[in-house]
Symmetry: C2
Subunit: 171 residues, 2 copies
Amino acid sequence: MDEVDLTDRAEVQGDFETGLNADDQLELRVWLRLLTCANLIERNVRQNLRETFDTTLPRFDLMAQLDRAPDGLTMGALSRRMMVTNGNVTGLIDRLVTEGLVERRPAPGDRRAQVVRLTRAGKRAFDGMTPAHADWINEMFKGLGRQDMTALLRLLAKLKQSLAEREGQEK
Amino acid sequence: MDEVDLTDRAEVQGDFETGLNADDQLELRVWLRLLTCANLIERNVRQNLRETFDTTLPRFDLMAQLDRAPDGLTMGALSRRMMVTNGNVTGLIDRLVTEGLVERRPAPGDRRAQVVRLTRAGKRAFDGMTPAHADWINEMFKGLGRQDMTALLRLLAKLKQSLAEREGQEK
């Protein structure tokens, strides 16, 4: 792996890291590289979803969350998992309900609460997209071996733990 | 580091990874953990910028890019470094120009092109925010040792390289 080459490439294309120096704060360098990678992957998935399935990333993400929760999710749980506010999810759900891909039902224990889940048609539509989505992600991680990915997963777990501890302190 | 504990925590708070299983595709797990970390950090910085300096993340990011380019940047270079389209940056620059924090000048070599840079007041305003910003980032990475961060930086470089190669193939 050649980091110098990577920097040269960044000079041409440009990203969050461009213009940083090796003597800049290490934490900042990690953060901006993390953000650059997240943006590149997200941009790629967004473009592929549009070109291949004529759909958007928020729609796909919402259906992915519901797919992992066959019993459905409350609005609160769903928006926490999508890491956005309730307001951001409501309009999206309305549209998916109109299209017959998602349904709202009273929660079993608490009839005032509502649970959202995929309809059969929604499940079918989502299942039609997952193999292609998995291929795009695999393709993007092609340069990393299994050991790299396990190491990355472990380091990101440590970072996530560090972030969670910080959030915990604030409360 | 206790991954089980982390999963339990995620069940309560919820994030992109919630509901995933250990037997899900490794690449997908890495990607969703990366996205979760990026979202948590961004959310934290956004909130701190608002509470401490009454400013927004796009404003800070734009000024940070200009701060790293004392000779100024063309609109194209600036939007590439911010990883957004030109259109997204134009309105923001207009406002910063009105506030006297940023200036537009004809490019030295090509008078039809324009170069954007920080004014003295802009530089001063930005310098007033960087120490606090550095503290926030350091605080969030506290759980990682120097060796962890170097390893993370290296693995993310490899991922970025993998993403760049993929983008290169498409052209």
